[in-house]
Amino acid sequence: MAARIQVPAEARRGEVIEIRLLVRHPMETGYRVNERGQTIARNAIRTLTCTYNGVEVFRAELSPGIAANPYLQFTTVAESSGTLEFVWVDDAGERAVERAAIRVVE
């Protein structure tokens, strides 16, 4: 699984920062059939979390009603330099981890 992640490289302490995420995922609904008429198994991202230096700052529960390649956007407060870690898990049990660094200045 791959994703595009946009986190400001640098922010002031206390600044509200915008985080954008475009995850590559088919978000299979489980209702579609292939060329042979067999049902394609449901495979959607179920949970996606973002932790900032170990503290959870964002959590989303997705469902098969959400389009393929979901786009998420949220904000958090820049507190200290470190890492934002994004983790998502799908129905197939695949777990993806992506990280982005942020530098916080006074």
């Binding site: 791959a2 590559r24 088919p26 978000m27 389009a67 390649n69 786009y71």
Partner: protein, 259 residues
């Protein structure tokens, strides 16, 4: 019925008489994005949120990755795509000097993959092929479409134009009936575009993925209840050349976002 036949005759009578007169004059050309809602236009223009960029990024990785028996990457021959591939998508489909065949960008990349890199033939609409086409086409973004219809390309252009005007399928419609005579009006809930190829490969919401112009053309064939031609059919290439000429001057938008 008689009224309908008379209308159809009137429509056909409005077709250009002069050989190379454009069905839609340059000043009236409008990109497919002009027929979208504001939200989709914004999504296409947003470098980050445009889902087609997922394929462009993958294509950039593939461009630099050694592939096939030759262990050679695209970059080994072509260098930096930003220089070597700028404008390439705006010229295709183009006659291949060696084989004399009319090739679109995907054909060109397939040929490189197989002949020069010794790699397995990428399947039509595979992620690998779409990623490379999207990445290469991205290097021409904003450049005006300017394919050549001279010389050996001429018969292909004529064949493409003939197919564009040929009534097909149970609906008995030609491309021209929607995209020249009725663009801007609605078909069911959709606004009919002028049928320009500038956004492709494009991310279509209906597909939930990136797809080629060829896939889009097949969708129109299906829409008029005509038999769909297989991927790689020469008729598609002829039509792609005619469409590119017809849209000449419009900027390349790949990867576009469409309904």
């Amino acid at each position: 019925m008689r009224l309908r036949a008379a209308l159809a005759a009137a429509l056909l009578a409005t077709l250009p008489a002069a050989a190379d007169e454009r069905p839609i004059p340059p000043h009236a050309l409008r990109s497919g994005s002009a027929f979208l809602g504001a939200a989709l236009r914004a999504q296409q223009d947003d470098e980050f949120a445009n889902p087609g960029m997922l394929w462009v990024e993958r294509g950039a990785q593939l461009w630099r990755a050694a592939a096939g028996a030759q262990r050679r990457s695209c970059a080994d021959c072509h260098g930096e795509a930003a220089q070597s591939m700028a404008g390439v998508a705006a010229r295709h489909p183009v006659i291949d000097g060696a084989s004399g065949r009319l090739l679109n960008l995907a054909d060109r990349i397939v040929e490189c993959r197989v002949e020069r890199q010794g790699a397995a033939r990428p399947a039509w609409e595979s992620d690998e092929l779409l990623a490379l086409v999207a990445f290469v086409a991205r290097q021409s973004r904003g450049l005006p479409l300017a394919p050549s219809i001279a010389g050996a390309a001429r018969p292909h252009f004529e064949a493409g134009r003939a197919l564009y005007r040929q009534r097909i399928g149970q609906m008995n419609l030609a491309c021209t009936h929607c995209h020249d005579a009725n663009w801007g009006r609605t078909l069911y809930a959709e606004r009919i575009s002028q049928g320009h190829p500038t956004a492709f490969p494009a991310y279509r919401l209906e597909w939930q993925t990136l797809g080629s112009l060829e896939r889009r053309i097949r969708a129109c064939f299906s829409g008029v209840r005509a038999e769909m031609l297989p991927y790689g059919a020469p008729e598609h290439r002829d039509l792609e050349l005619y469409l590119a000429w017809r849209a000449g001057g419009l900027p390349v938008e790949s990867p576009g976002v469409r309904r």
